[in-house]
């Protein structure tokens, strides 16, 4: 900057480089300044107090206005405080941006991991729920077979009137077998549920079903497809004919709603264990 400023031969610039040896300068300055009869201090006061509107004053005022303006703006923008990034250099900004990107990436990864975990948990809880539902359903189905729950549905009612006392346990067993073969799903006889382990025995004039004595008339309530059950009983030489030969009266009625509500207690097997476990 000093190059072209020295060309116009200005005194200020010539003076400024001489700042290096200032020690001797004031001593020389003071007498030089006093030559027109003014010290530096007097000049300062003179320049300050009677305000003169000269060209020099106006120009300097304009420049100083610019300086003050820039100064204030810079200070204000620097102390804005709302963003520490203001005035940061480009490389700093790039670094900060990189860090932010890294952080975003890491958080994104973490988010994905957590979402995956959540999905897995939801899935597994869904699966557990499904398994539980299926278990309940299966328990209900098995309960119908095992006689631990009541059942209802379409089926038939068979009533065997035995006035002569000729019906024996094996005839009832035949009837039960026939019903089972025809697809009966739930059977009860005079309030006793017939299940897989049911046994029948003759005991005098009555019949014992699983130890419960039942007397005529024997009333079977059977759930199954009525169109299969009734013909199965009525086939020639079948249950009904055999019983009628023994002078028993058999009536078979179809019904769209049979309720089998005789229950059995759940009995835990003493010896048999599930082999699937």
């Amino acid at each position: 900057m000093s190059d072209h400023e020295q060309k116009p031969g200005n005194r200020l610039r010539e003076e400024l480089p001489a700042e290096v040896p200032p020690a001797e300068a004031p001593a020389a300055d003071a007498p030089a300044g006093q030559q027109p009869g003014l010290t530096g201090r007097q000049r300062l006061v003179k320049g300050l107090w009677p305000p003169r509107v000269t060209r020099a004053q106006l120009i300097v005022a304009l420049l100083l206005f610019g300086l003050g303006f820039g100064l204030a703006v810079q200070v204000a923008s620097n102390s804005d405080g709302d963003s520490a990034l203001r005035g940061a250099r480009q490389e700093d900004l790039v670094r900060i941006l990189d860090e932010l990107d890294d952080r975003t990436q890491r958080l994104e990864d973490e988010k994905q991991g957590l979402e995956k975990q959540r999905d897995e948990l939801e899935n597994s809880s869904d699966q557990a729920e499904e398994a539980r539902r299926q278990t309940v359903e299966k328990e209900r189905q098995l309960g119908i077979l095992a006689g631990t729950v009541a059942a209802r549905g379409p089926g038939i009612t068979m009533t065997i009137e035995d006035t002569k006392g000729t019906v024996e346990a094996n005839m009832l067993l035949d009837a039960i077998q026939e019903l089972r073969a025809a697809g009966a799903e739930a059977i009860q006889v005079n309030g006793v549920r017939v299940v897989a382990g049911t046994y029948l025995e003759d005991s005098g004039k009555s019949v014992g079903v699983d130890g419960n004595k039942i007397n005529a008339p024997y009333r079977f309530k059977v759930i199954g497809k009525p169109q299969d059950l009734e013909p199965a009983l009525n086939i020639p030489g079948g249950v009904v004919q055999t019983l009628e030969k023994e002078h028993a009266t058999v009536t078979v009625e179809r019904s769209s709603k049979i309720v089998v509500d005789a229950l059995r207690a759940v009995k835990r097997p003493d010896y048999a264990r599930s082999s699937s476990q």
């Binding site: 300055d29 201090r41 003169r52 120009i59 003050g68 204030a72």
Partner: protein
């Protein structure tokens, strides 16, 4: 006196208006301000010495600002902007100090 008033008015205006500094100018404003301060101190010293000349002051003020901004601009382009602006500030600071020392001798005779 008018000059001092100009400075005060400039500061007040800057504080009141609070204009948004354009992004292109932002890195250069602080350096330009420091360079202008250097010119002002030089001018003040010249006035105390009785050799003040308004034309010289205007030229030195403007060229100081422009050259300082130019150096920073060049430094930014070369990738050493931070170091160069530090250098400029150091140099200008030294000049301001020496000018202030001369002014002090005039005003306080010490």
């Amino acid at each position: 006196m008018i000059a001092v008033l100009g400075l005060v008015v400039g500061v007040v205006a800057g504080l009141l208006v609070r204009p948004e500094v354009p992004a292109a100018v932002e890195p250069y404003l602080p350096i330009a301000v420091v360079a202008a301060l250097d010119a002002v101190f030089g001018g003040l010293r010249a006035m105390l010495d009785g050799i003040f000349d308004d034309k010289v002051f205007v030229v030195s003020f403007l060229s100081n600002v422009v050259v300082a901004a130019l150096i920073v601009f060049l430094g930014d382009k070369l990738g050493v902007g931070a170091q160069l602006s530090t250098g400029v500030v150091v140099v200008l600071g030294i000049r301001i100090f020496s000018n202030a020392a001369a002014i002090r001798r005039h005003v306080f005779r010490a």
